[in-house]
């Protein structure tokens, strides 16, 4: 890939670097279909493809200041997406192996429990939950921590099950994004934590 950034791109990248959300949205809109489609073909899983898309652009946003200095933004972007995709495939296979093993030895192997033993992760997760807007936080707590079903949470909060689903979905995304940003070197933990149980 030798394509240098065009002038158009450069001005867009410069305004993204300055923290302009509108420009970031344009950048996201420009690339999201390609990244999502590619990820979906490789992983054959919509939720995983969405995660790859979100994590890719989270990295873009967090690292926005370096964008104008990149010789080849697309190359950089695709490398991020590539690495995230690779990690997600590895991780899915690892988890599968463990589950198979567990099944063989007929051990009850809760897929998330050992993760929360990680003190640092636990702490960051707490922070992420604390940062959620009140309704999302409540929904998240009812379902994640008190293990309520969606209908039960809907009843408790006096909202529709769709609203519960939406609030939970947004809460999960935000929590995931926050954890990703805090734990730069531990995408595996996050991947495992979020890949189970919900969808």
């Amino acid at each position: 890939m030798k394509t240098r950034n065009s002038n158009d791109d450069l001005s867009l990248l410069t305004s993204v670097a300055s923290g302009d959300e509108q420009s970031f949205r344009l950048l996201f809109d420009k690339h999201r279909a390609n990244i999502y489609t590619t990820a979906l073909r490789i992983t054959a899983n919509e939720w995983t493809a969405e995660e790859i898309l979100q994590d890719t652009f989270l990295k873009v946003w967090i690292n926005r200041e370096i964008l104008p200095d990149l010789e080849n933004f697309m190359g950089w972007l695709y490398t991020i997406a590539r690495n995230l995709t690779y990690n997600s495939i590895k991780q899915a296979q690892n988890e599968k192996k463990k589950l198979l093993l567990a099944a063989k030895e007929s051990i009850y192997y809760p897929p998330t429990d050992y993760l929360t033993q990680d003190k640092e992760f636990e702490h960051i997760l707490r922070q992420a939950i604390e940062r959620l807007p009140p309704k999302q936080k409540l929904t998240y707590q009812l379902i994640k921590e008190q293990e309520m079903k969606r209908d039960e949470a809907a009843l408790a909060l006096n909202v529709s099950p769709e609203t519960v689903k939406w609030n939970l979905d947004q809460a999960m995304r935000s929590v995931r994004a926050f954890c990703m940003a805090q734990l730069k070197d531990a995408p595996l933990i996050i991947g495992l934590y979020f890949s189970s149980k919900y969808f």
């Binding site: 390609n34 999502y36 489609t37 979906l40 946003w61 695709y78 995709t85 690779y86 690892n94 609030n167």
Partner: protein
């Protein structure tokens, strides 16, 4: 051996030809450490090949952006709100507003006072708009268009006009070529929308409080229509006959393409947004050529400005939802007012916050207003069919 097998499987998956078993096998092979290098090359190449067949639905894409902004916010100036609804496939857009859609609400501003239930008992309840229009034939006679009846509406010379159940009107030529003359007009009221297929195959979606005038049969030279209000066009390709939309002193000229024109007088600016192909926008002596994704804004003094547009937001109405993208409250309220056929009054200072979010047009007005109220930047009071907007 495995390497070539992996490449073969990868190729299949990229062409969407792999069976679930093959996908399984591919994932297994990809995760083997000895393949790491090859896999990384394959993956990189895959991302380098642009493909856009599957797009993520707008609600989810909005949710992703919000999640990202929340992690690393830049400024608190802009108020966010958002909601989600299932994506509507293009084919069913005309009928889309009829479906009852699920909506979820996302709350971004932490503090919220409990608001009393707005507008409940009233003689003329506010309902969301639907497929409603009036067709005015060449001889001046009028036909009411709604969802109730289907079939033949009228004939104009050799041209037969029929309507379907989902708010769509079609012009078709009968076999005998008796020339058809005159213009037809289709008008949508406030709270109405309608779709029409013109004699040349061009499809037009008409938003609320809009009016389109067109000849029953296009003559040689040009295909010319006149628009008031807002419409989305998918112009049938015909290089010999340019398609021209005249609205409010502006002419948009195309050969075959997809674009939206918003020319409501109360909005001040006339906006033409291009989705596909290319169009020329002419105002007096000024002319600009738009590229896909661009928007031409024509102001009252006839100057034209080109901006990069959020095309999804521009045609959200056609797909059955409101989509606000850093939009001021006045502009949002004029959309609401046209769709729910309500009047809007601002009380006190008008908030300068910008709102972003998505909501289904099939929803009750309360839900849209409550969603805006969630931001705490604006509050409403419903009195009959009048909405008071307060800070």
């Amino acid at each position: 051996m495995n390497v070539t097998r992996l490449e073969y499987l990868f190729e299949l998956s990229m062409n969407q030809k792999a069976t679930p078993e093959q996908m399984e096998e591919m994932s297994y092979l990809m995760a083997l450490s000895e393949h790491e290098e090859l896999v990384k090359v394959l993956l990189f190449k895959a991302y380098q090949t642009p493909k856009t067949e599957v797009d993520i639905d707008p609600g989810k894409s909005e949710a992703i952006l919000q999640a990202i902004y929340q992690v690393a916010p830049v400024s608190k100036k802009s108020v966010k709100l958002s909601s989600i609804k299932p994506f509507l496939p293009q084919a069913s857009v005309a009928a889309a507003v009829l479906f009852c859609l699920t909506i979820g609400i996302l709350f971004f501003t932490p503090k919220r006072e409990e608001l009393p239930q707005t507008a409940i008992q009233h003689k003329h309840p506010i309902v969301s708009g639907g497929n409603k229009a009036m067709l005015i034939l060449a001889d001046g006679s009028k036909v009411v268009l709604d969802d109730k009846h289907t079939g033949k509406v009228a004939s104009q010379g050799s041209v037969l006009i029929t309507k379907t159940a989902n708010g769509q009107l079609t012009y078709s030529h009968a076999a005998s070529a008796v020339p058809a003359d005159g213009d037809n007009i289709i008008e949508t009221p406030r709270g109405g929308q309608y779709q029409v297929t013109l004699p040349d195959g061009t499809e037009v979606w008409l938003n609320a409080a809009s009016r389109l005038k067109y000849p029953v049969a296009f003559k040689a030279g040009e295909r010319r229509v006149e628009l008031q209000g807002e419409a989305y066009f998918e112009v049938a390709k015909n290089k010999k006959l340019p398609f021209r939309v005249v609205s409010n002193g502006q002419t948009v000229e195309v050969l075959g393409t997809h674009f939206n024109i918003n020319s409501y007088k109360e909005e001040g600016l006339q906006r033409t947004t291009l989705l596909e192909g290319s169009v020329r926008v002419l105002v007096l002596k000024n002319m600009v050529l738009l590229k896909p994704g661009q928007q031409a804004e024509v102001s009252k003094n006839e100057s034209i400005a080109i901006t990069e547009a959020n095309t999804e937001a521009a045609i959200a109405w056609k797909n059955g939802y409101f989509r606000f993208d850093h939009e001021g409250i006045e502009s949002i309220m004029s959309k609401i007012s046209r769709w729910y056929d309500v009047s809007v009054e601002f009380k006190g200072k008008i908030t300068e916050e910008k709102f972003s979010g998505t909501s289904s047009r099939a929803k009750n007005i309360n839900q849209v207003l409550e969603m805006l109220e969630e931001t705490n930047a604006v509050h409403f009071k419903i009195e009959g069919r009048r909405i008071l907007v307060m800070k």
